[in-house]
């Protein structure tokens, strides 16, 4: 009796999660996949098994370019965010006394408390020709005329990095504080320099935290619409922006779905490549 009861416990615990995943991931994904195989003829949606929407990726240069732009921006943001977040997480974990660490983390995530859209517009004002950055550089005599910072890829990357450094700091910090100080002590005892200790001991052991944060950064960044729309000034278009254009006037859901599936395929590929180090359970 008790064995049978226990046998039922497993499915009992898992079923709600399965229902949730099925309802909010599998079903929408199937709908989107099916929609991507439909076509829009005139203004009429024609269901079918056509690959025409995927073929447009090779026929229309701006679609392929959007994928490249999205990848370039996302990779830049991910690399820059990791480079900035690691030292920050290190300082919080090892240089700040434990009693101040909670405050330091709070300060690190403080920008999360403001609206994403408001934060993006704030960056637009900071980077404007009359904005803080240009005015500071001019007053310091470093430039004589304002330089174009807003409405550029630089602005998009800056807005993203500001957001994702916080996220990465948390995942890397979580990894660093779980690392026993004995590893570093042992390495030093064996004659390793500080750099060698970091290079051969700490970095490999914190790789799961870095990869986990980097993967989340990649996923959130490549699918984001708001930041490039506000800060990029449409000087180049990412995939989410092109999806929005397809939906806005023509309601071309089939092509928009195909583009969304392509984004998902890219994310899946990145997941496979990074799966070895991913530790999503540590979040």
């Amino acid at each position: 009796m008790s064995t049978g009861h226990q046998r039922l416990k497993g499915p009992g615990f898992v079923t709600p999660a399965l229902i949730w995943t099925f309802a909010f991931f599998v079903v929408p994904f199937l709908v989107m996949g099916t929609m991507s195989l439909a076509t829009l003829e005139g203004r009429t949606l024609v269901w079918g098994l056509s690959l025409a929407n995927y073929a447009e990726l090779t026929e229309k240069a701006y679609l392929w370019r959007a994928i490249m732009v999205s990848l370039e921006i996302t990779l830049t943001v991910t690399v820059v965010s990791v480079i900035l977040a690691y030292p920050l997480a290190w300082i919080i974990a090892y240089r700040i006394p434990p009693r101040w660490q909670r405050l330091a983390l709070l300060l690190a995530i403080l920008p999360f408390w403001t609206s994403y859209v408001v934060r993006s517009y704030a960056w637009l004002l900071v980077l404007a020709r009359e904005g803080v950055v240009n005015q500071t550089l001019i007053s310091m005599g470093l430039i004589s005329e304002p330089i174009t910072l807003a409405n550029t890829r630089f602005a998009t990357v800056t807005g993203f990095v500001h957001f994702f450094v916080m996220l990465l700091t948390l995942t890397i910090y979580a990894n660093l504080v779980q690392l026993s100080p004995n590893y570093r002590r042992a390495a030093m005892d064996l004659g390793a320099s500080a750099f060698q200790t970091f290079r051969h001991v700490v970095l490999p052991l914190t790789l799961p935290g870095i990869v986990t944060g980097a993967f989340l950064t990649f996923v959130l960044c490549i699918g984001d619409y708001v930041t490039p729309q506000i800060l990029g000034g449409n000087t180049e278009l990412t995939v989410p922006q092109v999806i929005m254009v397809q939906l806005g006037r023509r309601a071309d859901f089939p092509l928009a779905s195909a583009l969304a599936i392509v984004l998902m395929a890219i994310v899946t590929l990145v997941y496979i490549l990074s799966a070895r180090w991913l530790r999503l359970d540590r979040l």
Binding site: G42, R43, K60, A61, Y62, R65, A66, V69, Y121, L124, L125, A128, R129, E130, G131, T148, A150, N151, Q229, I230, G233, N234, T235, E236, L237, V242, V245, L247, G248, R249, R250, A251, D252, F253
Partner: protein, 351 residues
Amino acid sequence: MNRLKTALTGTTVLTLAAGAAMAEGELNALVWCDHTDPGLIEPFEQAFGVKVNLREYEGTGAALALLEQSRPGDWDVLVIDGIDVFRAVDAGLLAPLPDEALPTDDFFPQVVMAENNSVDGVTYAVTEKFGYNTISYNADKVDPADMQNLSAVWSEKYDGRISIYDYYLPVMGLAAIANGIDTAGIDGASLAAIGSTLGEMRARAASVAGVVAAQTALATGEVDIVVGGGEWLTAVLAEEQPELTWTIPQEGAVRWAQSIGVLESSENKDMAVEFVKYITSPEGQARLATSSCFWGMPANAKAGEFLTDAQKNTLRWDEQPDYLARTQLYPAPDTDLDIEMQDLWLDTLQQ
């Protein structure tokens, strides 16, 4: 001003009193942001004892998709781009409107647009507001004389000081006008010339911006000119920054218009028609024209009686006969041409 407000309120109450006995309830309207101004909606709600639920949308495609996915009766009123009324009619979404209830005789004749709002002699929508996609600029930063010539606007002189409004139809309409092509005459063959002009514009532009971004760019000095801008862009900024203004160049410009209709599936059609009547009445028109979201010319010329001189000045009321004569409705392409135009636009942005 107070006297005007009192007159406006008094007239509204009298005008709406006839319908005030109607049953209380709710009205659901799918609208552009200018209808969300409480100053516009509340007088109607009070007069009819009805709650008007508003939902904003952007893009006709998004609106039609939303309506097609809604249950019958979910929506009562639709505000739609004037050139897209036929799409809603084709989809069977709009109900016929009673012609005798619409004050179109008082409208500026050019914006009655019966050919857009009617199908087979049946009226399905009525124009409620219009304006121009033209050139907005900072008069302190650019030479106003240059703004009278479209090719000068995107010349080397203003390199990096231009923002382009992020909607392909009006901007491509302006590009067509710059090439001497009528917006109604745009076809596949004319896209090469239009594309070339778009490329020139794009090369000079610092950004391609939506409404808020374009306003921000102009107000903060990020750019000095918005191609495709107009009164809808600068009017709400006029009080604080009078140097931000707009003009219609010698070649002309593009005219936009929005229409309002009642949905076929509405279960509250009588009230919905009352709402349309209110919006197209002189009082409703004056409020809609000066909505906090964006300003635009009222279709009903009698709205002028309810606007202050300052408001009329900002809207360029007295210049309307000249502006209406020199502007063309923005392109209304069929499906195939629309795809070509959108592809050309996206190609240009990605260059």
